[in-house]
Subunit: 442 residues, 2 copies
């Protein structure tokens, strides 16, 4: 993409309403724009990252056997009356009346609708296990939206729902999502730790939050150091095999959020294995049994011919929130440092003197060859000042920068900078292409 044809509205000044670093950097890097309290437009650079996060989530959901559909944003109130949550949900639910005075709402979550879809079509144990998910915009009318897209009102969530015949198979469904989440966050270059969560009145031990570690995280978390080195399940993990050894290895060492923290148990660990850190919740998985299937009559016939309510779980990932979490975990004083897998572009090329006989052909050639190799490039072909060009590239945080200046090119070299390490090398155009291709393709 040529910057001269792109839309990247960089802000020079730090917007004063932004309290946390990810909010500040997203506004400054022209990734988002607030349209009203807690409601944002995703500008081109922000949308690119959002889509990359979505693709990773989708690939790992598919690997774990979840099937994607898409439920609408607007739901009828009557569905929520069946579960009893229409009144219980309170003011966070955005309630709407249509032109025929029908009561509707902008979905904050989808347990009711997915249960309705399930009961409409599925009758037999033969159709189980089933896990249906979607990635859709939700609305929660927070009293005081803040922290940019980290606590917005309109936000993008992946929510999966599992349907199983009994608790045992439901546990396997739960384990599949548990493993999928470990892989999902790892692929984004994040350190995510599953931590036991409060299951509320239903009880049981099948609820975990996935917490990203980041120095500027929203809350304190406590964990056993061994979790930091725990291996991530491989790409070829057989999701239809018994996954409980993996889940056990991840849930045995101590790990707790502030809310669930047990000072005594944590204190009993060897001192040098105790880690306290800051974290950000990006996922939550939950087995809730027959809560909705009982209330809404979602039953299946067993092999013996009796009808039983189906066992369900739900599995959320805060897709838009992850963008903020990624920045909290990956930035320095100059801006964002994107992990390769979610970077909006992989390489930024800076032409120091557009129109120059030396810089133009080298930049155009490198741009064309990188793109042909499947590497996404943002090519700064504008006539901005050099200082502004460098600052913008550091701010938007692409993994590599290539600077083409007349002086270097007289000696036949480009400057190649690694954004994460700051390391710079002077390389010929050919060596630059080889280095970047090797670093950025599999």
């Amino acid at each position: 993409m040529r910057l001269s044809r792109y839309f990247l509205p960089i802000l020079k000044e730090t917007p004063k309403e932004a309290e946390i670093v990810s909010h500040r950097l997203m506004l400054r890097a022209g990734m988002i724009r607030q349209q009203s309290a807690g409601i944002y437009s995703w500008l081109p650079l922000g949308l690119k990252v959002l889509r990359k996060i979505e693709r990773i989530v989708e690939e790992e959901q598919a690997r774990a056997g979840a099937v994607q559909l898409l439920m609408p944003t607007i739901q009828p109130a009557d569905l929520w009356r069946e579960s009893g949550r229409y009144d219980a949900y309170g003011k966070e639910m955005l309630r709407i009346t249509d032109r025929h005075e029908r009561e509707m709402l902008f979905g904050p979550t989808n347990e009711e609708m997915i249960t309705d879809i399930f009961r409409s079509y599925v009758r037999s144990y033969k159709d189980l296990p089933l896990n249906l998910y979607h990635i859709q915009w939700k609305f929660r009318d927070e009293v005081r939206p803040r922290f940019g897209i980290m606590r917005g009102r309109e936000f993008l969530m992946k929510d999966a729902y599992s349907f199983d015949l009994d608790q045992e198979t439901a546990r396997h469904a739960y384990n599949r999502m548990f493993v999928a989440y470990l892989r999902t966050f790892d692929r984004m270059g994040l350190k995510a730790i599953p931590m036991k969560a409060d299951t509320g009145p239903i009880g049981g031990d099948l609820s975990h939050e996935f917490i990203i570690l980041a120095e500027t995280g929203e809350s304190e978390v406590f964990l056993d150091k061994s979790l930091l080195e725990m291996p991530i399940p491989a790409k070829d993990t057989d999701f239809w095999s018994d996954l409980s050894p993996i889940v056990e290895s991840w849930t045995t060492p101590y790990a707790a959020t502030d809310e669930m923290h047990d000072e005594a148990a944590f204190g009993a660990l060897e001192e040098d294995t105790r880690v306290s850190a800051r974290g950000i919740e990006v996922g939550h998985i939950f087995y809730f049994g027959t809560k909705y299937s009982d209330a809404m009559g979602a039953k299946v016939a067993t092999a013996e011919g009796t009808e039983v309510p189906v066992h369900m779980g739900s599995y959320g990932v805060g897709v838009s929130r992850l963008l903020g979490a990624l920045i909290e975990a990956n930035h320095d004083e100059d801006g964002i440092i994107w992990p390769k897998s979610v970077a909006p572009f992989h390489v930024g090329i800076i032409n120091m003197r557009p129109g120059d006989d030396l810089t133009d052909p080298v930049c155009e050639d490198l741009y064309a060859k990188l793109e042909a190799a499947g590497i996404e490039v943002l090519y700064d072909d504008t006539d901005s000042r050099a200082g502004a060009k460098f600052a913008t590239m550091d701010l938007i945080g692409l993994p590599f920068q290539v600077v083409a200046g007349p002086r270097g090119l007289k000696d036949g070299v480009l400057e190649v900078k690694d954004r994460a390490t700051g390391e710079k090398e002077m390389l010929t155009p050919e060596a630059t292409l080889n280095k970047l291709t090797a670093a950025l393709t599999d």
Copy 2:
């Protein structure tokens, strides 16, 4: 995808509420489910097609220089007061009050918000031309939603907005979208004809509807036969060159919707060049000058340093509607016939006897090899009746079907059926793989 792990809720009976063929077939093929009047869930098969349509639209928008962003669904009422449309829009606008009694709405279109984004960041003619677009769910509270997703309330639209310094450059922006639309619909295997549309009080000749020809189309259209053979602009068309010769060649021959039809002009054509047909509107492009930039103060500085209101156009594609239009244009009595480029899967493999020593290994091997070649396969590994399996495959309309039965495999052959022509061939597994790979990859 193994059908045993997919969610494809086929309906045996034709739902009586469905008045048109695309609605009937989408319900029967398990592509959509109505959640309330004019509001649908996109079941897995429907979502797959929707995403393929989106990808084609995105690729062609990018080729034409449009840059993608994403505006939220919920908009503040105040923006619409600035343009005067808050009151003018009437009951089709879904109006919402949030918990703080602020007036909001579910966006039916985005002229106001994009103009707001533009005026917030863009100050100079140097940043033009600019075309920003998004693909987002819209809501129009139709009195009587009908025809399935063809006239729903919550629907997916691509809407692009161009910003130019004057009318002449705005015309070039218009032409870029005109050419992009010809390519977009052609890639979906559709015959789309641009037809002059009413420009309302603004006047001028810069508004066209793109009408898909389909026997079961919603309205009558009239055109010169030469348009049916008009060449589509090539992939390597230079969008930054003068496109007016292309646009003229497409707009000179007679073509009109019912509303704009001129019986005398049509009658003056040679009799054998007059075509009257049925059509479905799937796109609408529109130059509206400074209507919104005047009202909302979206100005840019010219090279001479004066400030002028920016010239705008808007360019819509009915993304979810296209799915219905595609089915109206491509079906027979047995079901849908997907064009390759938008088919949810390319090949359906039917294992006539899952568990059989002969059929299982051949199916598994073919399935694995096709997928490895980048061909998407729906593998029916279920133990349904043969008749039901055939009917389902015909109904969902994948371009090719492969039937693996014990009898054929005793002779070492599979049956390969072309869904569009109905032609069947008996081929060895190797010849099947070669044939499908050749037919389905570039």
